[in-house]
Amino acid sequence: MNPREARALGIDVGSTTTKLCAVDGQGRRAWQAIEPTEPRIQEQARRMLAGALAAGVPPGLSLLATGYGRKLVPEARTALTEIGCHARGVHRELGRGGTLIDIGGQDTKVIAVGDDGKVQNFAMNDKCAAGTGRFLEVTAARLRVPLDQMAALALSAQEEVSISSTCTVFAESEIVSLIARGTEVPAIVRGLLRALVRRVGALARATGLRPPLMLSGGVARNEAVQRLLAEELGLSVTLPGEPQLMGAYGAALFALELQSQPPSGQSGMSSA
């Protein structure tokens, strides 16, 4: 990775973390940064861009924004939803289409990616936060378990309790009663991850699974989620190098493509 070779940038302002990625002329990742999303998105984006320049990324590069805060990045030439960007990033990284599950902070998406990297269809979680990263954040906080230790705890569990509710609020009260009954924390954690994975699995099956099963988004780094999801869907899971970064990477790839085209010919993509 050489930041000086960077030719385009993508920023993914997610509900939990903000990711910035630079690509070189061949679309290879040249530089990247990940930070927790702050309430003042514009300022944060500006600061992260300045950080990229300080690291050696050339100034004046084309920038494309994605993620729920994408419209709050005035420096971006255009904005696209994270669905297209994740598909693009993962397709480039893994070199093929299939079913991509992106478990983000507040949305879970199941994306049917064509062999050309284009989104053929997608489905998202319904309105509540069930089956998203927020479910894990809230329940981990209730159990006083750091998020990054959840996977290890779940995998070390000797038993597993059944959490019947995927509703974040109801799951919290289930946890309270489980703790009161003296249930071991690892068993609860494993039950929580199972509940999340069942929810995501149902969404994936409703979309029509086509192997390979690919994962992206922050939750994808959780090894227990990878393993339970593979069990749930009966398919092995393929991961890109940096699953959390795929939205920003895809955005940077689109930015690179746009850079080489005149503004009027945006290959069917339209700015948001």
């Binding site: 669905i83 297209g84 284009k118 998202m124 309105k127 029509g208």
Partner: protein
């Protein structure tokens, strides 16, 4: 019926109201002509729009002065109304009134009135809007006439059964119930005769409340008028097959008011003739409802009444035309079943077959056929928290549309009348992502 009420009706509706509404329509028509080409992606509004406004305003004005002058019936949207029309009833459709409250953004406060009275938020928002309006007396249309009779038909859902019992208890008026068996296949003869018998039994009640006998000749006339209006409405909808489409489903959501609540009246038939000829002129001149129609989509389920305009503007800005909806289609597709020479049998058949009384498989086939006929490249499935019978099966619809027709479909979670069940940001992001797929 009282003489004083009749004088007030004639004076306020037939003399003053009629003249004022006509004047207001002419003023709007002149303004439309003067305005010329508006900026933006939408074509100029239909020239007959002021006429529609006049028709709807006159309907509610009539309602305002109806008590004491004419018998008044409140009816479910799928209810058989031809007998009531023939008996001179003035008809109120609480669901249509609910939609007006939704468009005028008063539905939420009316729902809250109902909730404070103990009605759960899980009940349909039309029912809560109506009950809230009844309890508080508040309505954006001035005043709703008190019902003398309630007619409830279960061909759209089971909620209406309980909703109308609440109304019957509140108003202490007779309730006529028409129960329609759910159809997994086209109606069997015994189902038709079951519904026919209920209509027959309802007639004496309707006559008693109206204090007049039903004239068979008049019923036949009303049914013929109703059939004609429904056929014209279907033709209006079919003009959406033209490329570019001269009309959007968003327009249809508004222009459908007369076919729902004024079916069987000559003014309704006359209005749809005018609308159809204007659409024909647009088609002949190649004028679309959008200046640039890049893609065509189909809508499933009720509209999101409090978001019709923003949604229409957003899709228009992306060159996406909503060319048809299974909802507006529901008031046109049954025209062939209507037969004025066999009023009772044909009414029983018509009111057994609305889309909400047919199996999920049939709903799927209807939508697939529409996708093909209207050459749509995607479907927006409104998963309506308040209309479970309409929303059930949409997951399968999405899957089958993708698998069998390679047409992507988006499930949009919302509620037709309660904005508290609508998440702006989530709907916007899903819609934007869907348009990226459809437009690529």
């Amino acid at each position: 019926m009282s003489l004083l009420s009749s004088i007030a009706y004639r004076l306020n509706v037939d003399l003053i109201g009629k003249a004022v509404l006509r004047l207001s329509r002419r003023r709007s028509e002149r303004a439309l002509r003067r305005r010329g080409e508006p900026p933006g992606p939408l074509a100029p509004p239909l020239f007959c729009s002021p006429q529609l406004k006049e028709l709807i305003s006159r309907h509610y004005l009539r309602g305002r002065y109806a008590n004491g002058h004419r018998p008044v019936a409140w009816v479910t949207s799928g209810g058989p109304i031809e007998h009531l029309q023939a008996l001179g009833y003035f008809l109120i459709y609480p669901e249509n009134h609910g939609a007006v409250c939704g468009i005028r953004r008063t539905a939420q406060e009316l729902c809250q009135v109902a909730e404070e009275a103990g009605f759960s938020r899980d009940i349909c928002s039309y029912a809560r809007t109506d009950i809230g309006s009844v309890l508080s007396g508040r309505t954006p249309v001035g005043r709703l006439p008190r019902p003398d009779l309630l007619v409830c038909c279960t061909n759209i859902c089971q909620t209406v059964l309980y909703w109308y019992q609440v109304l019957a208890y509140h108003f202490q008026v007779p309730l006529v119930l028409i129960d329609t068996p759910f159809l997994y296949r086209p109606a069997e003869p015994h189902a038709v005769s079951y519904v026919r018998q209920q209509i027959e039994e309802a007639i004496p009640v309707m006559e008693r409340v109206a204090r007049r006998p039903l004239s068979p000749a008049r019923l036949e006339r009303v049914l013929a008028e109703s059939k004609q209006a429904v056929e014209l409405w279907m033709q209006v909808l079919e003009r959406g097959k033209a490329r570019p489409s001269p009309i959007l489903a968003f327009d249809e959501f508004i222009h459908m008011a007369p076919i729902v609540e004024m079916r069987g009246e000559p003014d309704t038939t006359a209005y749809y003739r005018v609308l159809l000829s204007e659409l024909d002129r647009r088609v002949a001149a190649g004028v679309g409802a959008l200046r640039e129609e890049r893609r065509r989509l189909i809508w499933d389920n009720l509209p999101i009444w409090y978001r019709v305009r923003p949604l229409s503007d957003y899709l228009a800005s992306r060159g996406v035309a909503l060319v048809a909806s299974s909802y507006t289609n529901a008031w046109g597709e049954l025209a062939p079943l209507m037969d004025p020479r066999q009023p009772l049998d044909s009414l029983a058949r018509v009111y057994l077959h609305p889309i909400l009384n047919r199996s999920t498989g049939d709903k799927l086939r209807t939508l697939s056929r529409m996708v093909q006929e209207y050459q749509a490249s995607g479907v927006l499935l409104h998963s309506d928290r308040s209309c479970k019978p309409y929303s059930v099966g949409q997951m399968d619809q999405r899957e089958r549309l993708g698998r069998e027709l390679s047409v992507p479909a988006l499930l949009l979670e919302a509620d037709h009348n309660d904005p508290r069940s609508f998440s702006e940001e989530q709907v916007a992001s899903r819609l934007e992502a869907f348009l990226e797929v459809v437009l690529s």
